[in-house]
């Protein structure tokens, strides 16, 4: 059995307004897995991912990343962790006015001194690396364009390249295809699969569509009301499980 990269233990998150987003979630992630988290909107999927890279602060519980508890890390420790954990978002979260290349280079900020980065001095090696990753996601030729001139699918691929430029061991993807059309969906998911298989980067991905889950996931976790209600391989999700996760009367939709 391969090494455990991430181990979440009894993780709880209560927002200031009193919402219990996570009510004690525990699971392990092995190196090289493509873990998909499913669940309704508001089930705690996004909160969970944001607790892992500490964009949100967990209320209690442990998050072991390479056996180091990062749930209570502070300041520079948090930044060190984030360098090893890339993230892509539903709305891509690129800087719209910057060029594609500059957006990808943002992935190097964590390794640069403040002065060099504020002056915009990126070294040649970083630039080559950024261009390589753009090539990997198939948009090398768009490097000089402004990010907001690209289509949604292309912007998401820029976001993947940005995350890869960090040199992460773990990639978090928060609903990466939720604002894309069905055809583009598969393109982006295929690149995530490529990242997972060719670069050996562990992926944790939030998804809505069960058909995508069956196609890409090596393992599935289902969240409902901030708790894990299912853990297993995608083929094990039966009709009964589906209704349990998504509520009575829910119908599965296929996108192709």
């Amino acid at each position: 059995m391969s090494q455990t990269i991430l181990s979440v233990k009894n993780l709880k998150k209560t927002y200031e307004n009193g919402t219990h987003a996570l009510k004690g979630v525990s699971f392990d992630v092995k190196k090289g897995e493509f873990l998909v988290i499913i669940g309704l909107s508001g089930s705690g999927k996004s909160t969970l991912l944001r607790c892992i890279n500490r964009l949100h602060d967990p209320t209690s519980g442990e998050i072991l990343f390479y056996d180091q508890d990062i749930a209570k890390a502070k300041g520079d420790e948090v930044r060190e962790i984030r360098k090893k954990i890339g993230m892509i978002f539903q709305h891509f979260n690129l800087v719209p006015r910057y060029s594609v290349l500059k957006n990808v280079l943002m992935g190097r900020l964590g390794t640069m001194t403040s002065v060099a980065s504020l002056l915009g001095i990126f070294n040649q090696k970083d630039k080559e690396k950024a261009l390589d990753y753009l090539k990997l996601v198939g948009i090398r030729e768009k490097a000089g364009l402004r990010a907001d001139n690209l289509s949604g699918g292309q912007q998401q691929r820029v976001a993947i390249a940005r995350a890869l430029t960090q040199g992460p061991d773990l990639l978090l993807a928060d609903e990466p295809v939720a604002s894309l059309d069905p055809a583009t969906c598969h393109v982006v998911m295929d690149y995530l699969k490529k990242v997972n298989q060719e670069l050996g980067i562990t992926v944790i991905c939030n998804l809505h569509f069960l058909s995508l889950v069956r196609q890409y996931a090596t393992r599935v976790i289902a969240l409902k009301g901030g708790e894990i209600v299912f853990q297993g391989s995608p083929s094990e999700i039966s009709e009964a499980w589906f209704e349990k996760i998504y509520g009575e009367g829910a119908k599965e939709v296929h996108i192709n």
């Binding site: 890279n53 930044r79 993230m87 719209p96 943002m106 900020l109 995350a163």
Partner: protein, 342 residues
Amino acid sequence: MKNFNLKSMVFDGITIAFLFLVVIVVVTNPTEEQQLNLSFNASLAGLLFLFSGVISWVLNHFNIRTWGEQIFLPPQKKAVDAEVPLLKTFWGWQALIVLITTFIVGLVKTKFSFYELSNPDGFAGAMRLFQGIFNPDWTLLPKAVLNIIETIFMAFIATALAIPIAFVFSFLAAKNIMKGPVAFPVYLILRTLLNVTRSVEALIWAIIFSVWVGIGPFAGMMALMIHSIASLAKQYSEMVESVNEGPIEGILSTGATRLQMVWFAIVPQVILPYISFTVYRWDINVRMATIIGLVGGGGIGTLLIQYQGQAMWPQVGCIIVVIAVVVWLLDQASAYLREALK
């Protein structure tokens, strides 16, 4: 629910107490000494305010809609109201009477008088002034031009020096990035300081600085700069508060520092509006610089007050023409610039 009731009671309290006070003044016709008795009058007003608040509450209690209730009622409650003509409602009459009373009191207080407006002596004096102004003494033109150049540069330097300071303040005064046990108090203190600074008019700052550094363009420039810092920082920080959170998350997730996040995620989003605000501020500062000159801030305003004091109207006319032309030109230029920057 409670909150809306309180607002409505305060509003009715003020408007109804105002009516009571007007009636009392009309009936008792107080002497000047009585009018200056602030503590007695203030307590009377305070008592009437409380009394009127209670009236409002009682009226609301008996389902009579007051003006305050009408204003502060949550929209979802107004939605179910039947259409009633304005003058068949209590609040309609309340509003009408309060507005008409306020207007009449205003006319009395400003001593509005058709008699004075049509007084032949006064009118003749105004005509002499107009004659002077409309026949400008162009021999003063070189001096006026020289002075307005001083004014323009006063405004320019005031704006230029304010930019970097306001730029830094704008992030420190933005609620969305000043979170945490240290940052939030800094935000609160800076916000309060900026609000207080801004509420003091540039004219007052000019008086302060003309005593501090002496009458002249330096005092005027300092006054404008202080005012510009406060105004720009407020406008800038509002832009920072309305930025898209997405890029912030995106940059932070790469392991960037907060400084890098501000520089790469926020600055690109706010830089164009910043420039636009700054151009507009320079435009405002040129106009303000003219006024500030009147209290010893240097530039064209000081020249204006000299000639106005000696009632030399043709010279004043020349200065007014120069000011009008420059202000108009700058106004146009800044409008075109801001349009292009959108």
